[in-house]
Amino acid sequence: MTGVRRRSVARPLLYGALVLCALLTLLPFVWVISGSLRGLDEIRSDPGAWLPHHLTFGNFERLFATEGFGRFLANSVVVAVMVVAGNIVAASAAGYALAKLDFAGRRIAFAAVMGAMMVPLTTVFVTQFVITVDLGLADTLTGIALPSLALPLSVFIMRQYAMSIPDELLEAARIDGAGEFRIFFGIFLPLAGPAVATITIMSFLNSWNNFLWPLIVAQSMSGYTLPVGLAATSQAAAHVTDYGLLLAGAIVVMLPVLVLFLFLQRYFVQGVAGTGMR
């Protein structure tokens, strides 16, 4: 990299360009924070102002007091807990089997994982909806969570990680007479921590930000997750220009994931960079 150091004139230019790009990327975050702190009258009288004249937290109070966001938040949390738990169990077991067990049908099972990543939601949502209705799960949180309980992405992450664990570790236990379940729980899982962390993060992200599927399954306000509730609030006639309220809602929806992201960035980036999916 000696060639780089010689060109010291280029360095400030590069930083200038990067700072400019970063500011442009951050603009929507500036807008949402400033807008959520502006009162309704202020937004009506001066809709395009960049900063609030008077700070108010009234929008956040209204969200939870009258717009049902407490319920949406609780629903989102319940769905996310189901999805994360399901993925940890299903993906750890499936990823381990695909990477470490030699059995009839392994290639078919792996092809199913890869194929499932390819099928667009738009292709299957109509029939998924019919199945959900047939199972009596329309408009339930379980109905929202079920299709995401064993994401192929999670299985893929665990399978890739399991491939990197040396066979000798497991083989030694097998020769000592340990059963497959003891090997899985006693030896494999304790080593699979990083993959479990990535799966937790990725399935939480998937569940929290999922929009089209909950939009289809949830049919009454009491079953809305946060994104569906926010979209419904914004489409209600009473709120068309009530941007302060809507932007406060936007903050409630995006904040949990952004906070997690700031602390656990590594896992987010690994999860996306490893597969390019989310």
């Binding site: 102002a49 067990l101 029939t127 932007l247 995006m254």
Partner: protein, 307 residues
Amino acid sequence: MTVTVLPGAPRRARRPRGAARRTAVAWLFLAPFTVVFLVYTAIPTVAALAFSLTDLRGADLRHPFAVDFTGLENYLRLFQDQSFLRDILNTAVFVAVGVPLTMGTGLALALALNSGIRRMRGVFRTVFFAPVVTNIVAVALIWQYAFNASGTVNKVLGAVGFAGPNWLDDPNLTMPVVILLGVWRNFGTAMVLFLAGLQAIPQDVYEAASLDGAGRWQQLRRITLPLLRPTTLMVSVLLTVFYLQVFDEPYLLTNGGPLGSTESVALYTYHQFGVGEFGMSSAASFVTLLLVMLVSAVQFRLLRPRA
């Protein structure tokens, strides 16, 4: 579960029984995934194909025998439907403009972050990746707030003497705004994939090149870009597959309007579902699946020589 292995016992003799047991145990491990896969991916895909060949409507769900097999009629109707053809065009525009813009931005930022800078590198990467994890419903609202006729964007334009247009109501301007949202949301994904690709290029290639007197620009054109080709292909296919299914951005920003100027194929599928035309909806969704499979097949062909 304890299996005692006698020293010197002939392992081969036990294998048939052991293999069957191993297979049973393995499928037990795979059971949770397999059940969800069958119920929510395999069966729905086959059923969607079947639906697309019938005149199934929402009202028929309780009376399945009222449904008629209509062969390819839905597909014929689709390709005679002007709005579906327009939506294919809209989706093609979204892909043709959005993919290069997203890749270009991601690649430029990855090159900048990989150019040997140290200070603030982590901060920049965090900032550029943040849109990827940000909830799209929330972001779409922010864009409506910023891009409405009297919003913050037009306030800036007004301050420098331009009369800002009505971004989300003008059929000529909505698509650019929708594409911009797609690019903002996805360039971070392209960036981290390019960064991973760049870091896999061995440094001594560059050292040799600069000893031979190759400048930065020449190194980029003759070394970096050619060696990055597999990553470039992978990112382009990934984004193409992703953008072919574009739903969230146009649904949330404009619901496909005005005058259908931003309705995508996925949004058409959703709207047909909404009016109870399940057969038509499934046929439209299969067009998306075929396009995705086509692009994926091209991907495997292009990537095979490397692997």
